[in-house]
Symmetry: C2
Subunit: 392 residues, 2 copies
Amino acid sequence: MADKFAQRMGTVHRSFIREILKVTADSEIISFAGGLPNPELFPVPAMGQAASEVFADIGASALQYSTTEGDAGLRRIIADRYRTVRGLEVDPDSILVTTGSQQILDIFAKVFLDKGDKVVIESPGYLGAIQAFSLFEPEFVTVSLENDGPNLEELEAAFKDGAKCFYAVPNFQNPSGVSYSLEKRKAVAALLDKYDVLFVEDDPYGELRFMGEDLPTVYSFCKKPGVLCGSFSKIAAPGFRIGWVVTEKEIYDKLVIAKQASDLHTSTVAQAIMRRYLESNDIESHVDLIRDRYGRQREVMVEMIRKYFPSEVVITEPEGGMFLWVTMPEGVSSMDLFDVAIKQKVAFVPGRPFYVDGSGENTLRLNFSNSDESRIEEGIKRLGKAIESFLD
Amino acid sequence: MADKFAQRMGTVHRSFIREILKVTADSEIISFAGGLPNPELFPVPAMGQAASEVFADIGASALQYSTTEGDAGLRRIIADRYRTVRGLEVDPDSILVTTGSQQILDIFAKVFLDKGDKVVIESPGYLGAIQAFSLFEPEFVTVSLENDGPNLEELEAAFKDGAKCFYAVPNFQNPSGVSYSLEKRKAVAALLDKYDVLFVEDDPYGELRFMGEDLPTVYSFCKKPGVLCGSFSKIAAPGFRIGWVVTEKEIYDKLVIAKQASDLHTSTVAQAIMRRYLESNDIESHVDLIRDRYGRQREVMVEMIRKYFPSEVVITEPEGGMFLWVTMPEGVSSMDLFDVAIKQKVAFVPGRPFYVDGSGENTLRLNFSNSDESRIEEGIKRLGKAIESFLD
């Protein structure tokens, strides 16, 4: 069989994170490994009500095949929210509904990536994007992520060298929690325009800001076409698998063709329930609730890290999102730490998989969205102890 | 922008059928063009009840991220139904839930197709497969479909010539309505084994048999590995976008990797509602209902064709499924006929798009699942008149 697999499969592996999640299924383990939203915050009764109404009112059409572009009403709501919440004017017809925002990466790659094309990514970078793009055999070029965004010299050098596109998560990045400053957003947009590089702005966490001021998307500063990706996974619920992409007509038409070939269209039922939920509920106050809770959890995590981690350990202090990033002294391996930590019943994701160049040995990712405050305290205490054992 | 698109996009076009469906949106037009199940038969109240129960009982977990492989309970039900309904022993762990069966074609292509690989398809062939595979730039090799299955000489010649895989719909094929005879099923399986060609058996219509005897899948006769594709779209409802693929371990693991990169997993909500619906309802009697209704509609269509079509016109007489195939005398163009028919307020799909070699000029596809008996009578009458105008 092995000789029958396509060449592209040689470079792609099962997600390391998903493998880790299996180890951490033990309920005694306090896990900061996953990237799950807190299920206590899912608006279950309101969603259930929306589902009942959908089946009662438009059951047959919610169960039928539908258009590849996505539910027109849902796209209008997405456009309205861009205007009211983000101050961005978006035409509903420029929005394509996708099966989660993961699918955008797949169809973008289908439309744009030839084998060997240079894809610039942040380092550390989002694993789902690395996976999706890898199947199209690009050459990854990495750009260091600093506390306020990418290193601009590295970025310009990568663009100058003939990059096809730049994939980035400018708000509360997964895995690092880093956000781009306003200056870097403008600078990145200027470089994209100057070198005519396609931009893929992935923004699943943009609305989850606990502190500081909302900043415009990089997309809104670009004069050349790009794609802006959004998702209901972090502000409503991921189980629907509903994301969307905003782009201009020429790209849009190609993305529709690629999506149609991939799964015809996103679940009609899921779209109908989500639309009804949004029409009948105040999602803005729901997002406030999430922001408030995650903000407190993040605060406790940072506080406990200060209390229990050795002072040599450096962390990012994200203003939103779901993750923070830990850098230990050189020479401490987070892979080795993982084994020790699991014995002490605490888990995280070692940083190396987020670096396509195999660096990041001494880094790790912590998720703060999916643990309550007391478990965060206890888990960070255990982890601090584990780290200490490496510094002795 | 055009110079940025990947090479593969040069060969792929928006589905011709979807374009036609836009023309036929006019409610006065009797359309035999679409491929939609009859929405009157969707079990709306039972699905609504299932949805209510899911939100009441397991709301938060139905809204969370889930495994790429799919809901374990749903996979057990699919395996049980293979045993009880089709007499096929299938391990639930060999079933991967997909976002419609269209997605199987995409992930199969990702896992197996290098550019230029030879993909054997039936002629006429299923448009969705041609679209999905095209993105991976194979060389299509077509094999004529006869009334009882593929032409075996052509098939063997194609296999001998180094085919990578054979994609086929042995039960009530879309577009032709043709089913393979038992003899041809065995002969095809023997050829697949002899030449070590991967088989993709697409079986969305297998349970929709109105007459004749159920026949085993070709897959069940094969000794070498292949994939068997199934779907809830035609026996329950397509709006969920839930399909599945059955295969052996080595292929399964690669398909999981490709699916994970494509959309992480299929909608948790949609899977949970479908599972609950199947647990609480007798889907077998629901499928009986569909079979009964489609069987009558097919009967009326065949009868009316005999009454209203010129006698030179030849049709397939499918024993199940949703489509039948019309062959007009040489020289009559179904593309030209389409324009005349639309003026007389009746629509169909011209046959040419189903032939990758551009033949099939004088053929067309008729759908009988989505029109009631009186509209079928009226529509066939109109179409007969339109065809006659070409034979004068």
